[in-house]
């Protein structure tokens, strides 16, 4: 059976909160999430506009059934 000082010694070697890697630390910052989220949502809005709102005849006719089904205002 190991003596108490050995146990304490081992315990000290196991860090309770392992330090974050550079990438992890960056990922946890809200400031690093704002720009990607903003850009992704703008991309999403552009797609929704083309499929659901754009009033060119070709886009309207191609997406007609999809627009009616999703209850977007149509015609």
């Amino acid at each position: 059976m190991p003596s108490t000082p050995v146990l304490l010694d081992n315990a000290q070697k196991i860090p309770l909160n392992p330090p974050l890697s550079k990438g992890e630390a960056e990922d946890r910052g809200i400031s690093d999430r704002i720009l990607p989220a903003l850009l992704a949502s703008m991309l999403g809005l552009a797609l929704l506009y083309a499929a659901g709102f754009a009033d060119t005849a070709q886009l309207h006719n191609a997406a007609h059934d999809g627009r009616h089904s999703a209850s977007f205002p149509c015609h």
């Binding site: 929704l48 070709q58 997406a63 999809g66 009616h68 149509c74």
Partner: protein, 228 residues
């Protein structure tokens, strides 16, 4: 600083989610949504037939439209996938800002929020309509739709995440607001298709969009988690 990894994870998850949810929606639409729509179109064409006959000499410009059958289904699928990817990117952006979602179950809740925001709330004022139904000016309806969606989204997030009761109450007021100011209506309500067809279309779209949105939320929760 712009984090390219976070952006790529979001976009890849949204592409897969939108593709699968869009294809699933296209399949579900074939059960009742599309058959009802096609039946309503027959009524619409019959109702406008005398006008077309009288307009034979006019220089009517016919725009391209997909042929009925596979071509039309293909373009509907493309539209559904575009809507699916677009909605997934929005849901993913909110997930990203709130922190990582735990799993697909958490994703289902986001899907439910999207369903209420983008389908249920605007449909309470402007119900899903079959072709051949009179409606108010398109721009007015689009504006009301947009305001209602923004307002519902903001109201729901206040209800769910606000810390104080006052702010939660404000969220509930926002949810109700667009329905107190009623949606733009036509001067005279009329429809070429019979009322039961219109009702059948509403039932079909309510169900199809519920599945669509739950698929978007659940898949996005799952794929976005896997990416990270």
């Amino acid at each position: 600083m712009f984090n390219l990894t976070t952006f790529r994870e979001l976009v890849v998850a949204a592409l897969w989610t939108g593709l699968l949810a869009g294809l699933l929606l296209t399949a579900i639409q074939q059960i009742q949504v599309i058959p009802t729509l096609l039946r309503a179109e027959v009524y619409e064409e019959n109702a406008s037939a005398p006008v077309v006959a009288n307009a034979e000499n006019s220089h009517e410009h016919h725009e391209w439209q997909p042929e009925n059958g596979w071509e039309r289904t293909f373009f509907t699928a493309v539209a559904n996938i575009s809507l699916g990817v677009g909605f997934s990117l929005l849901i993913g952006s909110v997930m990203c800002l709130r922190g990582r979602p735990g799993n697909w179950r958490m994703g289902l809740l986001w899907g439910l929020a999207g369903y209420i925001t983008f389908f249920v709330s605007p449909s309470l004022g402007l119900p899903p309509e079959v072709p051949g139904t009179t409606a108010a000016k398109l721009a007015d309806r689009q504006n009301w739709w947009l305001i209602t969606v923004l307002d519902t989204g903001f109201g729901l997030s206040l209800l769910a995440f606000a810390k104080t009761r006052t702010n939660k109450f404000f969220g509930a007021v926002l949810l109700a607001a667009p329905h107190l100011i009623s949606a733009p209506q036509p001067e005279v309500h009329s429809s070429a298709a019979p009322a039961e067809l219109a009702q059948s279309f509403i039932t079909a779209t309510v169900l199809a969009n519920a599945v669509f949105w739950l698929a978007i939320g659940g898949l996005m929760g799952q794929f976005y988690k896997k990416q990270s």
